[in-house]
């Protein structure tokens, strides 16, 4: 699957503004990139941002392990009064987030 199309990548977290940390992701988020995603989110969380934003406009597919990682990060963010935003470019991903009610915990942005 991942050998075709564009290779998945997770960017280094960066500070967008006073309260927003951004993690950029692209390609297919599957088990092979889940550890990098988890690490990037961990690193971003250490700054205790008000908003932790996953910029995933260029993500075409997200598997269950990556969903689990996002959900866990959202729960941890909530414990510190923060929230997780997911910038979603794929209608299919958006539908899965809705179907699984994950969009109640994660703020899904267009």
């Amino acid at each position: 699957m991942s050998s075709a199309s564009e290779p998945p990548s997770i960017g280094k977290p960066f500070l967008l503004d006073e309260q927003t940390m951004v993690v950029e992701a692209s390609g297919e988020l599957d088990l092979a990139v889940t550890p990098q995603l988890r690490d990037a989110l961990d690193e971003a969380e250490r700054h205790r941002p008000e908003v932790l934003r996953v910029e995933a406009s260029a993500v075409g597919f997200i598997d269950s392990t990556a969903l689990g990682v996002l959900l866990a990060a959202a729960h941890r963010a909530a414990e510190h009064g923060g929230r997780l935003q997911f910038v979603c470019g794929s209608p299919a991903i958006r539908r899965v987030l809705e179907m699984t009610m994950i969009d109640r915990t994660i703020e899904v942005l267009p």
């Binding site: 088990l31 299919a92 179907m99």
Partner: protein, 249 residues
């Protein structure tokens, strides 16, 4: 032959459409089709003290996991596999929220008795005792023994081997891991369930690496992917198992 107006696709056909052809509408159809299963299981667990919506969310996550990872060649219907992964995710949630801490004292006590009885019986019988044997020895029901074992697992955390980075090193096998202190009889079952969380190809890679002792290059060749990719998937799979294991059964 099937006509275009024939009945809706079977689970197997949809799984094939999604897993082999990347058809995401097939994935969605499967999630929708089995969402009531997630709801039914979530309702059962929600009575134990967490909000239904939270439990259901975990249940749905388990359902997506089932759809992503289901391997038809194992001969288990998707529905049954999904029931397990849904329960697994829900149990995970309960543990995350400190459910393990609230294991009833009587159950904790029984867990300890089961542990020592197991050692003793293993010595007497010359094999790892079954739940029935444990139940008889402790004069409790088999269900209670099972529950005590489950409770125990919630506290467990066992190391997994690091993937062998060197091509020559054929040493770090899961079998070696057994010798290194795994309670084999019990943890086989646990390991099986953890492995079921992985996609067929990832499971296959672990199998080739650790049971058939193939090098990463050999595996890469037989699967038609790069050695780098094998290495990445091995590491990711082991990380995944480790995380699941840390959360326990």
């Amino acid at each position: 032959m099937r006509t275009p107006t024939a009945s809706p696709k079977t689970d197997l056909e949809l799984v094939e459409d999604f897993q082999r052809r990347g058809d995401e509408s097939a994935r969605e159809a499967l999630i929708t089709r089995h969402s009531r299963l997630a709801q039914a299981i979530a309702r059962r667990y929600a009575r134990r003290g967490l909000a239904y919506d939270d439990v259901l969310q975990s249940g749905y996550l388990g359902l997506v996991l089932a759809v992503d990872r289901y391997d038809p060649s194992r001969g288990v219907p998707l529905e049954r596999y999904a029931a397990r992964t849904i329960e697994g995710e829900i149990m995970h949630l309960f543990r995350d929220r400190g459910w393990a801490v609230r294991v009833p004292r009587s159950l904790q006590e029984l867990s300890r008795r089961v542990s020592s009885a197991r050692e003793q019986l293993a010595h007497q019988l010359g094999h790892s005792p079954t739940s029935e044997e444990l139940a008889t020895a402790l004069d409790v029901s088999c269900d209670m023994v099972e529950e005590a074992i489950q409770a125990q697992r919630a506290y467990r955390s066992e190391p997994f081997p690091e993937p062998g980075d060197d091509e020559a090193g054929r040493s770090s096998t899961l079998a070696a891991c057994d010798e290194a202190g795994f309670d084999v009889a019990e943890d086989r079952d646990l390991l099986d369930r953890l492995l079921a969380r992985l996609a067929p190809r990832e499971r296959r890679i672990l199998e080739l690496r650790y049971y058939h002792d193939q090098t990463q290059s050999e595996i890469a060749e037989s699967l038609g992917i790069s050695q780098m990719h094998v290495s990445r998937l091995l590491r990711a799979s082991l990380d995944e198992l480790r995380m699941a294991m840390r959360g326990a059964a």
